[in-house]
Amino acid sequence: MSNVTMTGASATNSTGQRPVSRRANRWNRRIRLTFAGSLKAELLKLKSLKSTWILLGLAAALMVGMAALSAWTTTFMATVDLTTGKTLDHPKPLAAVDLWAVLASSGSTAALVIGIFGVMAITSEYTTSAIQSSLTANPRRGMFYLSKSIAVALYALASGIVGILLASGVLWLFVEGHDVTPLTDDQWRIIPITVVGFPMTIMCIALMALGLGALTRSTVGGISAVVVLLMVLSSVLAIVSLAVSQVSWLGTLAYLTPDMAMNNFLGASIRSDAVSSVTSQQDYWIPEWWQSVLILLAWVSAAWVGGLLVTKKADVK
């Protein structure tokens, strides 16, 4: 039993009769709960799960796949005469804005996978009772939630960056040999929106999903909420607004959903043939790209803060 404990730790007891070795003292003083430690722990927790790598890899692969698919469509269209259907001798030049739009829109399917990643990052703690050991090691629940959020955000961001880089590579392979017309003056914003906005959007979706996971504390509940917010809601609203033409403002409502906000932001409010669009002749209000960012951020903050409140207050049984 001599190896049960390694230090003269009982020196801190009320009687104080035991001498403390210098080494033990140094060891003791360093041990305390810190935010940096908590963040390091959350980063390791994600790194040590196979599901993290599968989901993030799948998300990046979907981004690349989607980019490849629309890049192929775009370049194919350029080689065909759209009125006769015959192959052209000299392909039409590609518009740079279309190519950027291909990149920017490649994340909408991946967003769902990132959402599942965000939900599971927190609900797996509850389903495996690991939350008990996590919260006895770090009883400051706000700190626990914040460090988990930062870890999830960093992983999602990395996946978004890797995804967009690989997607650009694939796009470049398709475009090689084609003439490209440059961006016009009012289209330049699609570059920062794609390069910076795309990975940030992926990160925001992960944080929203984490919040939904923390709110429901159940994997099924969290993923259902993500699917409803990212797929079902906007489709239902869009279909209803088409069917019931008198209440076309439902179409505006559809633009308030997280996935439409995300796509509208990444579309940068630029008309482009590469991104399918039915927005041209609508009589209802459609938000600008920057308004869509605010809408998306509102969703993310609402879900995240809701998750924070539940994490802080709810009993862990």
């Binding site: 039993m1 495996t128 919260l135 090691a137 049984k317």
Partner: protein, 316 residues
């Protein structure tokens, strides 16, 4: 030292804790005893900030758990055998916990070694047997070399060697002047390990005492005799009104011949002298105590009866 003061907690339909008050002192193993559903786990969870009590508080070394600077340095807790993510390796699980409190890496390897998990440290925790998971939970509790141990039924699923190890661990920590709170639903286990005793039933503290006091108060002595001369035995005690002689079931340890009796209310030494003088042949003569388990069952059973009675009084 762990001080629990007037903890109450109501879940939707059930009053889980009702003004639970007790202290687990430094240098002692405090046994926390109660049947399943009595409120042991709820009390421990409230102590560790996992459950917010409706009223009352728990202080660990004078502070609420959530306010501690180094929670793992102050308290090591085993709340559940399964407390690790199923797909994470045992070592990564411990390492992540250690990181939060800035516990050095080598301490992780030390606790893995101590708990006998060295060979499975890289395996996923979900593949562990109940006993292995329990060892992993104990390893996590020991990471911070804590001044207080809170163990919720730590021997569940452990093999005899593991049970003995946990018992020695508790004694060792207490001997070092630390506080150990050990919950169990088995009186026999607690009697072997604990100094102090806190008995809980239906969310009420039924008794706070020491193990030796409880043993002295609740166990009646009796003498077990196996003899081929039952009539002679009965006639010896026929005159003594305070002594009862009853036949008993033959236990596997008893000799296979003769009749088995239990004598209640007689002194062992006096009885042995009388038997010798009367020339009674005995194959077995042992002093026994009624099992502590029975005394404890009677106590918690009474609590149930008391509850229903008081409810009836209220409605009257």
């Amino acid at each position: 030292m762990i001080e629990v003061e007037g903890l109450s907690k109501r879940f939707k339909t059930k009053q889980a804790l009702n003004k639970v008050t007790f202290t687990a002192e430094d240098g002692k193993v405090t046994g926390f005893l109660g049947p399943n559903g009595a409120g042991k786990s709820t009390t421990m969870r409230a102590m560790l900030g996992l459950i917010a009590p409706d009223s009352g508080q728990a202080l660990i070394d004078g502070k609420p758990f959530t306010k501690l600077r180094a929670p793992m340095r102050t308290v090591g807790a085993v709340l559940d055998a399964k407390s690790a993510h199923r797909s994470r390796s045992a070592r990564d699980h411990l390492l992540a916990l250690a990181y939060t409190n800035n516990i050095p890496k080598r301490r992780v390897d030390e606790v893995i070694d101590m708990t006998g998990l060295t060979n499975v440290a890289k395996s996923q925790a979900g593949r562990f047997s109940l006993g292995m998971s329990q060892r992993l939970s104990i390893a996590a509790a020991l990471l911070g070399d804590p001044h207080n141990l809170v163990l919720d039924e730590p021997i569940n699923g452990l093999d005899p060697e593991g049970v003995k190890w946990v018992r020695e661990l508790c004694r060792y920590y207490a001997a070092q002047g630390r506080a150990v709170l050990l919950s169990s639903h088995l009186m026999s286990e607690v009697a072997l390990t604990a100094d102090d005793l806190v008995i809980i039933g239906q969310g009420h503290i039924l008794e706070t005492t020491t193990v030796s006091k409880f043993v002295a108060e609740h166990s009646t002595r009796s003498i077990r005799v196996v003899t081929p001369e039952p009539d002679k035995l009965r006639s010896i005690f026929a005159a003594a009104q305070e002594v009862r002689v009853v036949s008993d079931q033959r236990a596997p340890a008893d000799p296979p011949v003769g009749e088995v009796f239990r004598i209640i209310g007689a002194d062992l030494v006096a009885a042995a002298h009388v038997f010798a003088q009367a020339g009674l042949i005995t194959y077995e003569l042992i002093e026994e105590r009624a099992s502590l388990e029975e005394a404890y069952m009677a106590l918690t059973h009474n609590q149930v009866e008391y509850q229903t009675k008081s409810a009836a009084e209220v409605t009257r």
